[in-house]
Subunit: 187 residues, 2 copies
Amino acid sequence: MTSMTDEREVIRRPADRRERILDAAEKLARRGGYFGFSFRDVAAAVGVKSASIHHHFPTKEDLVVALTARYRDRFLESLGDPLQPGAARRLADAYRSAVGTRDQMCLCGLLAAESDALPEATRGEVGTFYDANIDWAARALGGETERAEALIAGLAGAVVLARSKLDPGIYDRAAAALLSGVSSGHR
Amino acid sequence: MTSMTDEREVIRRPADRRERILDAAEKLARRGGYFGFSFRDVAAAVGVKSASIHHHFPTKEDLVVALTARYRDRFLESLGDPLQPGAARRLADAYRSAVGTRDQMCLCGLLAAESDALPEATRGEVGTFYDANIDWAARALGGETERAEALIAGLAGAVVLARSKLDPGIYDRAAAALLSGVSSGHR
DNA sequence: CAGTCCTTATCTATCAAGTGGTAGGTTAGA
DNA sequence: TCTAACCTACCACTTGATAGATAAGGACTG
């Protein structure tokens, strides 16, 4: 019971502290972007001091890179297999998860918009997110890379528009139009 | 010669100083967003002290609101008449102007992504930008509001993707697909 | 025309708060 | 005892914003 992983809810739970830091930082970064939150904001949300954040992630760039990589991996995993039926619909649903909830903008959409001002490693992670998204969509569309780019662009833009207008309907209508356009123009 | 407006390049040119402040601030905001630049950054770019910026725009929100309103008005003016031939192409070209040049992201695309963390008045200006864009596109498409939303979303997203990947081709291909999708799916 | 007054635009100097980051000490578990 | 995790306490710097001085120019007034 006291070996292996400690399941008691004691004061310290070092194992998942790192994950909780990433959780808090992700929440903040999805609201205000790279420059819209501070180490102290993260620390306060987790319930520790800012020096502890530096212990796990020496610099802000380290933190945001880790954040973005985790976000990307989880997002891609949630998409499943692009060759299984209903792939385009699943993609649209995944993007939709960043609509409707306040302060939960798509992390990579926000960081991509700030791209010019980001540290290089961070920009790289964001680029990988969209590379992987386009690749996934292209496979789902039978290798039509150009239509995949247009679809990802459209979904990403629709998230921003719908959030900015506080109207999820914009996303749903735009996604429907994009999906019908994608399927009608080809195949 | 010394009456009316003074055309000499003397030390003080108060008339256009305000515009020059907006020019500098726009450049900075299009790079790093609302939280990515400071009054001192703007002041240094213009060649004055930060207190002088506060004289023209008391708060940062005032500055960014003025910035966004000017950007929106200019953008809409550049689109011309949505009922004239080639309107969709003109729209795509207007969005394209924010692709390829470094540090010149579409201001409203960036601010919309940061929307959750912006002061309310600023968010309002950004919302108006997209309202007007969708309205313009809907008129260009013969009243098809849903397709207009999808088109604007697609173009806005394509700008972000192309910039983030430093590949203008992404924008061009996505724009072409969006325009063909828009015209093929209907009419 | 001279004198003064007001407005505009700018400056210097400063503020309290917040920034990313560091040094070094403390504590608890393996 | 060693190490990871966390702390207190700080650092130099930046942030948005303010107060008050200065200077220039236009506009009334005598």
